[in-house]
Structure formats: C-alpha cells, structure tokens
Symmetry: none
Subunit: 248 residues, 2 copies
DNA sequence: TAGGATGATTGGTATGACGAATAAGGCGGA
DNA sequence: TCCGCCTTATTCGTCATACCAATCATCCTA
C-alpha cells in the first residue's frame, strides 16, 4: 500500500495531505472533516495512522476534535504561512502586555536617553496620520522603542514577541476592526503622557502611565465586543498543547 | 487503568508524564526511553495511545524516534523560539524575570486556587532535596506553576521561555556553579514566603514577595562573580522539528 | 406540536498480529 | 586469537478488528 519515496512516516504524509486540503479550501474552516473511517479509505491507511495524523494537526491548532461528533477545521493556514506561530487569545495578550510593558516602561524611565525621548515624541506625533496602517505602525514602534530603552535585550525581545503574536492573531484583527467601528480613536494624547512620564525619570510614574494606557485599551476592546464568542474557539486550540506542555 | 476523571485525552496524560520524566532527569538526554510495549505496562494504556503520546513529544522536538532501535531523548527545544538571540546575558535574563515574574505573581494572587497553593507548598519542600538537580527542578516548577496560576497562557509561556533561555545559556550555568561554590543556599524560606503572600490574595503583597526573592537572587549572583565572557555552546536544532514544519 | 426515547454515527481505546529496520550475539574462517 | 558474516531477538511501523462512550438525528408518543 505504500507509495514510492516515503521519506518519513506514514502519518506525516497523511497530515501533509490533510493540511494541504485545508489550505486549498477543500475542507473549509468550520466544516467537519470526513470521519476517521472514511479517511481510512480515502488515504489508504489504517485508522491508527489517520488518528496520528489528526493529532499532529490538532497539536498545530489546525483542527479541533469533538468526541462523538467529528474533527472540525479551526483555521486555514495560507500556503507559505509561518509554522509554529501559536495563535492566542487577544485578551490574554493584552493582559500580558498590561503587566509586562508597564514594568519595561518603569525600567526604561531610569535608563532612557534624551535622544530616545525625542524619537518617542516624533512617533507620538506620527499617530496623527490619516493612514490607519501608518498610525498603527507608529503605535508599534512607540511601544517597542520603550522596551528597547530598557537596554535589556530579553525584555525588548519579549515585548516584540507579544506584538508579533498580535499581528498573527486573526481574532485580534477582528476585535481591532470592531473597536474601530465603535469609534475608538488612536490614543496619541496618552502616548504623550507616557513620554512625559518617562521624562521625569521616575519609574513609578512611568509605570503608572503605561499601565493606565494599556488598561484603557483593554477596556475599550472589552466594551466593543462580547467576549464569549471569540474566546471559546481559541481556548480549545491551546488546550491540548498547553495541557501537557505546561508541566514540562 | 489509573484515573478516569482525566480531562482531555489519554495520550495527553501520557505525554505529560513522559515529558515530566524527561524534565526531571529520569530519562536523561541521549538515553533511550523504555520500549513502547514497556511504556504500555508502565502507564497502563495501549500501544496506540503510547504512540500518540510519543508523536506529540516528537512534534515538540523532545524526542527522536529511530525505527527498529528506540525512542531517544533530545535536547529540549524552546517553544516557538525566535532564531537568533539564543544565548543571552544571565543578568539581563534575571532582570527580566525580576520585572515580569513579579507581575505574574501579583496577577496569580487574585486567581490562584487553594489546590495550586498546596502544590506550591509541596514544591517548596522539595527544594530541600539533597539532589541538586532535583532541587533546581523544583525551583523551576515552583516559578512556572505560579505563572500558570495567572490563567493567562501568554504570561505562562513567556515565563517558561525565560527559564528555557536560562537553561540554554552556558554563561548562566557557570554563574550558577560559581554561586553555589560561594555558598549560596537554595532559598526555600523565600519560596515559603511567596506562597504565604499568595495566600493573602493581595496582588501587592505577592508582587513584593516575588520581587524581593528575585532581587536577592540577582544580588547573590552579582556578588559571587565578575562578569566574564564564555565561549557559547552549540544548541542544535532538532530534526523532528524540521520535518514537522514541512507538514504544515 | 412538543418532548423524550431510540438507534445510527463518530471518536476513544484496547488487543493482537505481521512486516521491516536495527542491534546484539554466535559461528566459522583466517 | 581475531575478524567478519549471519542468525536471531528486539524494536518501531502499520494494519485489522472490536467494543465503549459521547453525540446526533430520527421517530414515536403524549
């Protein structure tokens, strides 16, 4: 039953084929995959092998397995998409930023240079841009620059990672769009407050400014949407991986 | 058969147990795991289930499966780690932990369960172990469990990443050894203080306890050594991870 | 028409079997 | 004695089948 050049194991081939069918839309997001027994016939392998393949997809967050019901497509990875990009809930993300970036800001206050403060002024101004994309980029660079100002590469790369995760999250984009529709304006005034706080060189002041800023962002997003619907799907995705990986 | 009230699927439990045994050194790096049939007996599950668990570990890069030979423990691969800055300064690392874990601890204080508090007590006690490796593992799990108690997967995985980076850093190991030689004892009393602080459910109290703890660790390391450069060890990339990437 | 019982479908796991790749040990020849 | 080949036991790789539990659709009943 084996094909010709099977490099690697069978379940990998099946997983690859299933992932391809998800990517090309044969199995659209939200729909049920054929049953394991059907996949057995389709791919010409046994059910244990099909299950191994499905587990691989599940650990990657592509599908969700519902006992007694079926295997459902969670998200579609565009061909050429990055692998291993763990998608995560938008609120968890913001909460983490709320906690971490505040501390980064506090540390930055005692180490930031006058030159960097000037750059921050400029970035705050750029958020006035009519172009939404440009304003968002200014936002990102503003926060990242503060993290870099800690002169601690670990903290800087951690903050950067949180922003990257945000960009990867389709849920976050949806939320962002909703918030926009609800009339949430860019918070350039708050950014200016943060810069002013940094200028005092007082960690507590800087921490408070950043904390308030992110707190308001979080609140506005919470107000703009009902959490229930969105968080539900995402929670399950990380579940399988998190459940055993967290103990490692 | 052991438990029945295991939420999640069986292979997840087995994978978790195996990963734990790898983490605590029961199955050292490079060594062969018991055969699948033996694991069947050990964990009281069928071979398909054992295979599913092994596949999960393989996809995470923890083990390598060699046909006809066995399953071998690889280096632990960082979760979703960005390539590049694999090796980083030990003091930067500790400074980041000082800032981030304190916040995680504060958030955990308002969400932690009584059960988790009990586990923390136990882990604090385990640091008494004469076995240095075991004591260090208890230390790690103590801090990670607090991060998990935030019920925020982003914060949990961030903290985990910081610990993993520590493990990857030969500089840190050297520092740690030096500190040990300088008579730095495990800080079980401080861990107990942290648990007590968490029990109050007051974020400020918990934050202060963790901040003091990590501050003392940082101070002791600073005292025990002068910073010096070390040749960096070669962290190898797991082959399984590569194959995995091609699946998606 | 509403609601509950019932049976079909689906995933979850177990058992046993056979093939293929590997590694270890024994046997024979030099 | 030493080296190399070959046999053999062990291990992973896969398959087929079976049974349980959860789910879902259907029909029957009140």
């Amino acid at each position: 039953m084996t094909n010709k050049a099977d490099q690697g194991r069978l379940y990998e081939r099946v997983a690859r084929e299933l992932a391809a069918r998800i990517a090309d839309g044969t199995y659209p997001v939200g729909r049920r995959l054929p049953s394991e027994r059907e996949l057995t016939q389709i791919h010409g392998v046994s059910r244990p092998t099909v299950r191994e393949a499905i587990i691989a997809l599940e650990l990657d967050g592509l599908v969700e397995v519902r006992t007694g019901s079926g295997v459902y497509v969670l998200l579609r990875v565009p061909p050429g998409g990055k692998a291993g990009a763990t998608d995560v809930g938008p609120f968890e993300l913001l909460e983490a930023r709320h906690a971490f970036e505040s501390e980064a800001c506090a540390l930055a206050a005692s180490r930031i240079t006058e030159e960097t403060l000037g750059e921050l002024d400029q970035l705050a101004a750029e958020m006035n841009s009519a172009d939404v994309a440009m304003a968002e980029d200014a936002d990102r660079r503003f926060h990242l620059l503060i993290a870099v100002a800690t002169q601690n590469s670990v903290m800087a790369s951690t903050v950067e990672e949180l922003w990257d995760a945000r960009a990867r999250s389709p849920q976050y984009k949806l939320l962002s769009a909703k918030a926009h529709a609800a009339g949430v304006a860019p918070r350039i005034d708050e950014h200016r407050e943060i810069v002013a706080a940094l200028r005092t060189r007082k960690p507590e002041v800087a921490r408070r400014a950043m904390r308030q800023h992110l707190g308001r962002v979080l609140a506005s997003l919470l107000a703009a949407t009902e959490v229930q619907e969105i968080e539900r799907a995402r929670a399950k995705v990380a579940a399988a991986r998190q459940r055993y990986a967290s103990v490692v």
